[in-house]
């Protein structure tokens, strides 16, 4: 709220605050959220949905889901840590 005194407008205040919150902090929040997502997706009960004797493109559903999610997860990590809005530390 300190920025308020300088900039006046509410919009500018929020703008200034999100910049002041540092991109590192934002990245940290995104990464934690990603871990939570992974923890949920790779455990009961979501995992049990895929425990079926069926195939996706010739691959058992469970195997396919696990490895596909793995790849997606890697891509998400890469996107977050390499995000171009992030200033180099």
């Amino acid at each position: 709220m300190r920025a308020c005194g300088h900039n006046g407008g509410l919009l500018e205040t929020f703008g200034a605050r999100s910049i002041a919150m540092s991109p590192l902090k934002r990245r940290q929040e995104r990464l934690v959220a990603l871990v939570v997502l992974g923890g949920l997706a790779l455990n009961f009960p979501l995992l049990s949905l895929f425990s079926r004797e069926a195939f996706v493109w010739g691959v058992p559903v469970l195997f396919f889901y696990l490895f596909a999610f793995w790849l997606l997860f890697v891509v998400l990590i890469a996107l977050i840590v390499k995000g171009k809005s992030m200033a180099k530390e």
């Binding site: 934690v32 455990n43 425990s51 490895f67 890697v74 990590i77 840590v81």
Partner: protein, 909 residues
């Protein structure tokens, strides 16, 4: 050539390549052209996580539990996003404090406690030893499989002969490698670039080999994934493996294994070594955090296909699933592929063993052996750096032999995976102390100690001892009835908890006890000063200035040379000399050898020693040379308090003294002014009385003559009477001027401002003083003429000013040669007149005093000069009253100019 010879020869040759690579890496590091300063190399070195357990064991586990092998790799996957800040913080802390092992990290965080460091080291050895044994077993088994089956063709049902000697040779060879590249010299950061290069290379080899066999099995032996999975699905025995039902322990086990792997990727000694200690640049984490999970994905892609293929091909179950990776190519006649697979497995095992033993050797020597040594022998005379290296080499050899022993005694009876997971559960006991330690300053030493101790006791009871019991080391009743027949103590059903599989059960109880004790004790504990300082140091590592934490601790006395000698004992005299010189030079300190070492230098020495012998030992060593006591917190606080008070007082004092100085200066000035005024008053009175006395005396004298000499001639009488009148006039003038001045100064003078022309004023003044000039034959030239110089002023007063200036000028001029000119002035500042004479001029020191009252230039002729000495003063006051300015310019011997300027504007009042 017989396979009997090829396999060992290839092994030795492969290790030779590793040597060469590591040697080159060290060489480049020494040249300052590091090969390790590379995010990809860093990532590949992290892949030391994938041991022979992954390489052979994953397939073995997948063959019986389907996806059950995956949590070991999903854990790191889930942890990787957190690396960016958790690992980043750990690296920053380790760099700031020269921490070189996980035991040192914990000990350092909790007040550099030697006991805690020793405890952690001991537990790490107990916990990780089975893991090392596991690797030896894997190499030995794989070599035997290769030799036996290739030598005699694949004979199904022929149990692999475990050559005890093979494992021993492997152990010794690995020890040699670890010694060569892990303990060549003592370094503050304990970084081993050559070793990292070799490990990164090994990670490529094992990935390449595993992918090769995976591709061969999937597309060579089968017709791609569809064919393989389809045929497996058709097999009723294998159908279960496609779903979650095959995972032993179900979702609870899945969760606990994932959690263990999350902890293991950070806290296994070898992971800590490559992630934290060997980290070259913190920014490498950025790439590693997505590239490493990708590596894991690649190396696990073919685990399930190979496992299912093995189950399909060796349908009779004769082959140990742990060896499928090798036996499948052998079965298919691909001997060279089998050899490649063997080399990949060798890579996985050697990489793990080398890093693990190097990490452990640093830990054992720094946190176990040295503190004990230093406790019993506090005075050393010799260079100890050689001894430390010897200790570490001994430790590496000892560890591998211990691993071999463990393998011989217990390893043969268990599958690869179950051994490994016991180690994971052991290192997870450090997680609460470390993770809470770097985010919660309140975590205390006693809390951490209690937590780790109880965690380990529970772990031993619920996992380690049962594994002994299963191997036949302990009576089976220990498992079935509980120790001493106490059913509630049954290792795999503590307090009757039978909900979970043994691993989950152990993880639950041990971490519950661990964290509970840590938090509970910390909440009711009082930390010592060192603990508090270290806690802040760790938690606030990113704060600027937080790095100075160590510097407040030592308050005693130690000389620079003593300090240097101490450090030299552990890292060698030359290195110590270089380090100190570098430190002193960098900070531009000027320190004699015998000077007292500043606190910063002591802190530096302590850090330097920490790198070589661990934080706890370094602390003990420094305290042995620093004379004086370590301050307790209250002492520090009191000192700080006193200091801040003193600073405040001195600031106030300074302020007061500044005020006092100013007041004094003002007083002095006032005093001088007063003295000056006093002197002027005295002068004034004496001058006035003198000026008054002279005409009075004359009047009195001539009056007496007239009274006493009645017979005086009329002409004489007339002359004397005129003198009396003239003197009386002079007296009147003097009194008038004095009154005028007094009036002006007291502000009672009446002013009549009107439009005047300075030219007229000058003319009138000239007319009024014409007689004076004529009397003395001084020439007066009016250069104003009828120049127009209009302004607002008091006409009479201005005439008085000009008259005063003119009579002053004529006074100082020589008779006959004297010349006075009157000029006009017209500048931006205003208009005015200048009265210029060719008299003697005014000396510089008097030039500012001419307008003072009764000031008369002390000249030889002074006494003879007529005038009151008030004329110029009156001029000055009148001009001042008109907001004008009057000054004098003069050159001694050439004359003076009296100049005044008046503003053109209206003067109010």
């Amino acid at each position: 050539m017989s396979w009997q010879w090829i396999a060992p020869l290839v092994s030795v040759a492969y290790l030779g390549v590793l040597f060469a690579l590591a040697y080159y890496g060290d060489l480049r590091a020494a040249q300052g052209r590091s090969l390790v300063n590379n995010a990809t190399v860093y990532t590949l070195s992290i892949a030391v996580y994938c041991t022979s357990w992954t390489y052979y064991g994953s397939v073995g586990r997948a063959a019986v539990s389907g996806v059950g092998f995956l949590p070991i790799f999903l854990g790191p996957l889930l942890m990787a996003p957190l690396w960016w800040f958790v690992l980043g913080k750990m690296i920053a802390i380790a760099n700031a404090s020269h921490i070189t092992s996980i035991a040192d990290f914990i000990a350092s965080r909790y007040g550099k406690s030697p006991v805690l460091g020793g405890m952690v080291t001991l537990f790490v050895i107990i916990g990780v030893m089975p893991y090392i044994a596991l690797q030896l077993k894997a190499v030995a088994v794989s070599m035997d499989v290769l030799v036996d089956h290739l030598g005699a063709g694949l004979a199904l049902g022929d149990p692999p002969f475990l050559s005890n000697n093979t494992a021993l040779y492997v152990a010794i060879l690995m020890a040699l490698f670890a010694i060569l590249f892990g303990t060549r010299h003592l370094d503050a950061s304990e970084r081993h670039e050559g070793m990292v290069m070799a490990i990164a290379f090994e990670s490529l080899v094992k990935l390449g080999a595993f992918l090769s066999v995976g591709l061969f099995v999937t597309f060579g032996l089968f017709d791609g994934f569809g064919d393989l999975f389809g045929r497996a699905m058709a097999d009723p025995a294998l159908r279960r493996l496609m779903t979650f039902d095959a995972v032993p322990g179900g979702y609870a086990s899945w969760f606990s294994m994932t959690f263990l792997a999350m902890m293991a990727i950070l806290f296994l000694p070898r992971q800590f070594q490559v992630l934290v200690v060997e980290n070259f640049n913190k920014n490498h984490i950025r790439q590693a955090s997505w590239f490493f999970p990708l590596y894991l994905l690649a190396i696990n892609l073919f685990v399930l296909p190979i496992a299912l293929a093995g189950r399909l091909i060796f349908a009779n179950g004769a082959m140990d699933p742990d060896t499928f990776v090798l036996t499948l190519p052998i079965q298919a006649g691909q001997h060279w592929l089998a050899l490649l697979v063997y080399v990949g497995g060798l890579s996985a095992a050697t990489g793990m063993v080398i890093v693990e033993t190097i990490a452990l050797s640093t830990m054992v020597s720094n946190d176990l052996i040295l503190p004990l040594l230093l406790r019993f022998r506090t005075v050393f005379r010799d260079d100890l750096s050689g001894m430390i290296l010897s200790i570490r080499r001994g430790v590496i050899l000892g560890l591998l032999l211990l691993g071999y022993l463990y393998f011989r005694l217990i390893g043969e009876s268990q599958t690869l995976v179950s051994i490994g997971i016991v180690s994971f559960a052991a290192v997870a006991q450090f997680a609460p102390a470390i993770l809470l330690g770097i985010y919660w300053p309140g975590a205390s030493r006693r809390g951490a100690m209690g937590g780790i101790l109880i965690g380990f006791l529970v772990w031993s009871h619920t996992l380690l001892l049962p594994s002994f019991a299963k191997s036949g080391w302990l009576a089976g009743s220990f498992l079935t009835d509980g120790p001493w027949g106490q059913a509630w103590l049954k290792p795999e059903a503590l307090f009757g908890l039978t909900l979970f599989d043994p691993i989950t059960h152990s993880v639950f109880w041990s971490l519950l006890a661990n964290m509970g004790v840590l938090v509970f004790i910390s909440l009711f504990d009082r930390q010592t000063t060192v603990e508090q300082i270290q806690a802040m140091h760790f938690v606030n590592v990113f704060d600027k200035g937080g790095k100075g934490g160590n510097e407040y601790v030592w308050s005693g006395f130690v000389s620079v040379v003593d300090l240097k000698r101490l450090v030299a004992r552990f890292i060698g005299p030359m290195q110590a000399e270089r380090d100190f010189a570098h430190y002193i030079h960098k900070r531009r300190l000027e320190l004699e050898d015998n000077a007292q070492a500043p606190a910063r230098l002591v802190a530096f020495a302590e850090k330097r020693l920490t790198g070589a012998i661990g934080s706890a030992s370094a602390r003990v060593m420094i305290s042995s040379v620093v004379i004086g006591e370590e301050l307790d917190l209250r002492g520090v606080m009191r000192l700080l308090d006193e200091t801040s008070q003193v600073i405040e007082y001195s600031q106030r004092l300074e302020q007061k003294s500044r005020q006092l100085e100013a007041a004094t200066r003002q007083l002095q000035e006032a005093n001088e002014r007063l003295q000056e005024l006093d002197r002027m008053k005295d002068e004034f009175i004496s001058t006035v009385s003198h000026e008054l006395r002279t005409p009075l005396a004359a009047i009195r004298a001539f009056s007496e003559i007239l009274r006493d000499n009645a017979e005086l001639e009329a002409s004489e009488r007339q002359k004397f009477t005129e003198i009396i009148i003239k003197e009386a006039e002079r007296l009147t003038r003097l009194v008038n001027q004095t009154l005028d001045l007094a009036k002006i100064e007291s502000g009672k003078m009446e002013w009549h401002i009107s439009e005047v022309n300075l030219a007229h004023i000058a003319q009138e003044a000239i007319d009024a003083t014409k007689q004076l000039f004529d009397n003395k034959s001084v020439q007066l030239v009016n250069k104003v003429d009828d120049h127009d110089l209009m302004l607002q002023a008091d006409r009479d007063k201005m005439i008085q000013v000009v008259i005063n200036l003119l009579s002053n000028a004529v006074k100082f001029c020589d008779a006959t040669t004297g010349l006075v000119e009157i000029h006009w002035q017209d500048t931006e500042e205003g208009v005015g007149l200048a009265v210029v004479d060719n008299g003697p001029g005014i000396p510089l020191e008097d030039i500012n005093k001419v307008f003072d009252k009764f000031h008369q230039v002390r000249d030889s002729a002074a006494d003879f000069l007529p005038g009151s000495g008030l004329g110029l003063t009156i001029c000055h006051r009148i001009i001042e009253r008109h907001r004008g300015r009057i000054w004098v310019e003069s050159v001694v011997g050439q004359g003076s100019s009296f100049i005044f300027l008046l503003p053109r504007g209206v003067v109010e009042g």
